[in-house]
């Protein structure tokens, strides 16, 4: 999708990824942000609530909360309430360890929240190997509680070499629990970079996943798989990098970035402590450069109209430049698998 309305520039993102804290009670091997200990200077409650108001004024439709583990932040419910009071829809990515029935009942009252519980394997052995001891059972318990609530719930799985073969079975598990499955792309960011070579899916695994995805219309892939998306899923609008155009990311300390996978100093568009959100969105030269970004090296490719060069974040992490074309795109996977 090359959308002339998006190309003209929207007055605000459609949704924002907000990593509210770096604090996490797990140490997942593929964590994009190396979460564990809270960042030194995370936004205060007052700053966070002011940011919610700024998002509301700008017209942001949805905030996707991640981290770290969002529920580790003591004022997280207050931030959520502020969003819901303003009609902003929210989605929370959580490891599920801190969810219990009373909390789910409280969350369900807003009717504006969706929850993704991370689960990276179809059984205890495979999930715990990536996320830590006991995480499978804990996530399963959280999903079970959520499935009995009105909250739209999904299992969120990061596709890795270790679990690629389990994805169809995870899909069945999600169905049996009455929730959906969302598969996210593994990127060499944070601790994911340290474990990249071991956990990186092979080209064959990515091709097999792409084929399976084409046949599994109810599986969500969210942000990440447009470069792998086959023709059958084009109608789902998964073929465009929305960074700085439809979406953006704010980190725990109020820094704004194009997306959650590019939270490096090189990609800092501005800080909430120095500028308003609207100023950053409208005036940041970095965001402007992402809106102008064209992957010329991919323009001759037969799939260019479908993926527009793929994920700039993966290109940057693997090739050192955002305009280098996605090294794990469908075309490259075919070439690498044949080689």
């Amino acid at each position: 999708m090359s959308n002339r309305f998006v190309d003209q520039g929207l007055r605000a993102p459609v949704n924002v990824t907000w990593e509210v804290t770096l604090a996490c009670n797990l140490r997942c091997r593929h964590c994009l942000s190396s979460s564990g200990v809270a960042a030194a200077n995370e936004l205060t409650t007052a700053e966070a609530l002011d940011l919610v108001e700024q998002f509301s004024q700008a017209g942001v439709f949805q905030i996707n909360f991640g981290g770290g583990e969002p529920f580790m932040r003591p004022d997280f419910l207050q931030i959520l309430d502020a969003c819901h009071d303003r009609g902003i829809m929210t989605c929370i990515s959580t490891n599920g360890t801190l969810l219990n029935r009373p909390l789910v009942e409280r969350l369900a009252k807003s009717r504006l929240v969706a929850i993704q519980v991370s689960m990276d394997g179809v059984d205890r052995k495979s999930c715990d190997a990536l996320r830590g001891d006991g995480t499978y059972e804990t996530a399963l318990r959280a999903v079970d509680i959520l499935a009995k609530s009105p909250i739209p719930t999904s299992i969120n799985t990061v596709l890795t070499a270790a679990n690629a073969a389990d994805i169809p079975e995870l899909h069945n598990l999600a169905r049996s629990l009455g929730v959906s499955l969302r598969v996210s792309r593994f990127r060499p960011s944070g601790r994911g970079a340290e474990n990249w070579e071991e956990l990186r899916p092979t080209p064959r695994q990515l091709l097999d996943f792409s084929t399976w995805l084409a046949e599994s219309g109810d599986v969500r892939t969210g942000d990440s798989f447009f470069s792998l998306t086959s023709q059958e899923r084009q109608g789902l609008g998964l073929n465009l990098c929305g960074a700085a155009k439809l979406t953006c990311c704010v980190g725990p300390e109020g820094g704004f970035y194009p997306c959650a996978f590019l939270q490096q100093e090189d990609f800092l568009a501005g800080s909430l402590r120095e500028q308003s959100f609207q100023q950053i969105w409208d005036e940041s030269p970095l965001y402007a450069s992402f809106r102008r970004l064209r992957i010329h090296s991919c323009e001759e490719c037969q799939r260019f109209d479908q993926c527009h060069g793929g994920c700039p974040a993966v290109a940057w992490h693997l090739k050192g430049r955002i305009d280098g074309g996605d090294p794990e795109c469908l075309e490259n996977c075919v070439t690498m698998a044949e080689a």
């Binding site: 309305f5 829809m89 009717r111």
Partner: protein, 85 residues
Amino acid sequence: MNEPKVSLQRACRVRKERFGLLFYDSRGPRLLFAETGDLLEPGFFTGEVSVDETMDRLTEAEQRKVTGLLSNLVKKGFIREQQIC
């Protein structure tokens, strides 16, 4: 003339953009870009602006455009069934 009923689905939102209106459906998520210029305000879909009064001030051609948009929004699940005229 009955009061037209225009109501966004619970999972949907709308806002003003330079080209007109941008609709968002969190269930997809999906977007719909409506090139309406200044014809309609988001409040038309949220009950803050009178549908009757808005329709009355439009030309016939504009009314047809709005009616077409409403039909499309119903078909695509952004708004609930409504009655115009």
